[in-house]
């Protein structure tokens, strides 16, 4: 898949709450094929404190509009600068980067997300429906109700279970505590997960115990995003250190040396 450097136009910047916003970006060229799980490397202009590009997962793609959207959480200076973009402004990105979630062998799928980790899962959910006619289910965890962003988009795709830490929406607790995971009648054949590392490790442990295949999306620090700097490595069972940006960001947890 050929990677591109492209300058996109900001069409919309939707502020979802204090922390999250969605950027809608349009290219004046036809988009390359983008797979769920892939990411873009964004150049942040106008910030004295960001120098390297910032990796952001693709949240949604509209080939007919030549547009992609990104769900971003304000984490520091770079993402704060991005949150200030206004329609008409430009954003330079490198994309599409990384591998993608693998093709499911079965249709009993659970997509577990937390925080911004929901971003690649929305795109994955849409893709699963369109490409394979599979209706996935989501299990999404938030700190509280007001952070449960764009929930309706997930609900449109498939049944969506919610946990919040404060109990303001859905089940109170972490995703890993949701009753659905302990429902004997519920069959899950594969889990795709993205979120904070602690969460993903808990999910991986659960999947491992239940013998369910599990793919995670890692968010290692990246220098280049294209396999050139070897900064983003993760240690794997078979191949030692591999680049998260090219061999990942999606890994089957069986490949990783996680203590689970």
């Amino acid at each position: 898949m050929k990677k591109l450097i492209d300058t996109l136009q900001v069409i919309d910047n939707k502020r979802l709450n204090k922390e999250f916003f969605v950027l809608l970006l349009q290219s004046d060229k036809q988009l390359p094929e983008i797979l769920p799980g892939q990411f873009v490397q964004v150049k942040v202009e106008g910030s004295p404190r960001t120098f390297l590009r910032r990796p952001i997962s693709v949240y949604d793609v509209d080939y007919s509009q030549q547009s992609i959207s990104l769900l971003i959480k304000i984490a520091g200076d770079g993402t704060r600068q991005l949150s200030k973009l206004i329609p008409g402004e430009k954003l330079n990105i490198i994309y599409p980067l990384g591998n993608s979630f693998s093709k499911p062998s079965d249709n009993r799928l659970l997509l577990i997300g937390g925080g911004t980790g929901v971003a690649p899962l929305l795109f994955l959910g849409k893709y699963l429906r369109k490409q394979y006619n599979i209706v996935p289910e989501f299990l999404l965890g938030y700190r509280s109700k007001d952070l449960a962003i764009e929930l309706e988009k997930f609900e449109e795709i498939g049944k969506t279970y919610i946990t919040t830490e404060d109990g303001s929406l859905g089940h109170k607790g972490f995703v890993i505590h949701h009753p659905i995971l302990f429902d004997e009648k519920k069959e899950i054949n594969m889990i795709y997960t993205c979120g904070p590392e602690v969460m993903m490790k808990e999910v991986a442990k659960y999947a491992n115990n239940k013998n369910i295949a599990c793919e995670v999306s890692l968010e290692n620090l990246m220098g280049c995003g294209i396999g050139a700097c070897l900064c983003c490595v993760v240690d794997t069972i078979d191949n030692g250190n591999v680049n998260t940006c090219t061999e990942g960001p999606i890994f089957n947890t069986k490949q990783l040396k996680w203590q689970i």
């Binding site: 070897l230 900064c231 240690d235």
Partner: protein, 303 residues
């Protein structure tokens, strides 16, 4: 079009723009973005005798106008390189320079003599300045007798262009440049990264798994430029300059300070097409300022 041809001893580059080791993979990583044949040369990432896993994650952190890295020479070893990578990259229509590393003089020589047999590699860059490995690496680059010994030994087993890459983490880089010149180096390249460190005040832990790492990017440009200028005045062999070059203007500053060629490192991460843009920018500068040849600009600083 101005004349951009650059000679680094017997190594003939079509223009002075090379890529810096460790920042450009083996070139393939960038072939989606640029036509590699437009580059003067590609310095591939550091090669060691045996495969190396490199340092644990985290290996990088961003700093003000720069980054620290602690990759630690992760690579699959010289034999893998020769068998699997060389056949592919030797097809490129640009000069390939192999950056060689070792934990001892013998190891450096092992890699150098194996690379010596590769037809399409006309130069090696002897890296005696990697701050991210425990053995060898920078130790050779900050101790002059060691720098001399490894240069001499590699010279004996390598008969094409030998570039020695110097460490900036020394009191007097000129001393090292002269010493390697006197002991067989055909050229020197500088600077490698400055030894630095970053701390996360929230976790109260170092940002890198190795605590310290190598600082690159625009932050180090003033130091790099100073060292290139000092070394250029002191040696007769060509100087290859690098350190924080982000655009053609930066490249021209290094050439004015005395660099015959320049290498682009960290800038590739921000703009993977920057190398070719810099070739064009240098050409524009020469034309606008009515220089016929790039060689007229080398060391043309008026002090």
């Amino acid at each position: 079009m101005a004349d951009l041809i650059t000679n680094i001893s017997k190594l003939k580059l079509k223009n002075p723009v090379m890529t810096a080791s460790g920042t450009f993979g083996f070139g393939t990583e960038y072939s989606d973005f640029i036509d590699l044949s437009k580059l003067g040369g590609i310095v591939v990432k550091g090669i060691t005798p045996k495969p190396r896993q490199g340092n644990p994650y985290p290996r990088m952190v961003e700093t003000a106008s720069g980054m620290l890295n602690a990759v630690g020479l992760q690579n699959k070893g010289v034999d893998y390189f020769i068998e699997h990578i060389y056949p592919e990259i030797s097809q490129y229509n640009t000069e390939i320079v192999v950056n060689i590393n070792g934990g001892s003089i013998e190891e450096y020589c092992e890699v150098a003599s194996k690379i010596n047999n590769l037809d399409k590699v006309n130069a090696i860059e002897l890296n005696i300045s990697c701050p991210n490995v425990k053995q060898g690496g920078m130790l050779f680059g900050i101790h002059c007798p060691s720098a001399i010994a490894v240069t001499k030994a590699v010279r004996d087993v390598y008969n094409k262009t030998l570039i020695v890459k110097l460490s900036p983490n020394v009191t007097n880089i000129v001393e090292f440049a002269k010493a390697v010149e006197d002991n067989g180096a055909d050229a020197v390249s500088l600077i490698n990264t400055l030894l630095g460190m970053a701390i996360n005040s929230r976790t109260r832990r170092p940002s890198l798994s190795t605590v310290t790492g190598g600082l690159s990017g625009p932050a180090i440009k003033p130091v790099a430029l100073r060292m290139v200028w000092q070394v250029h005045k002191a040696v007769k062999i060509p100087v290859i300059g690098m350190g924080g070059i982000m655009n053609a203007t930066d490249a021209i500053e290094f050439i004015l300070a005395g660099a015959s060629a320049i290498q682009i490192g960290t800038a590739n991460f921000i703009n993977p097409a920057i190398t070719v843009e810099i070739v064009e920018g240098i050409n524009d500068y020469l034309e606008q300022n009515k220089f016929k040849s790039i060689s007229d600009l080398v060391g043309a600083l008026e002090c």
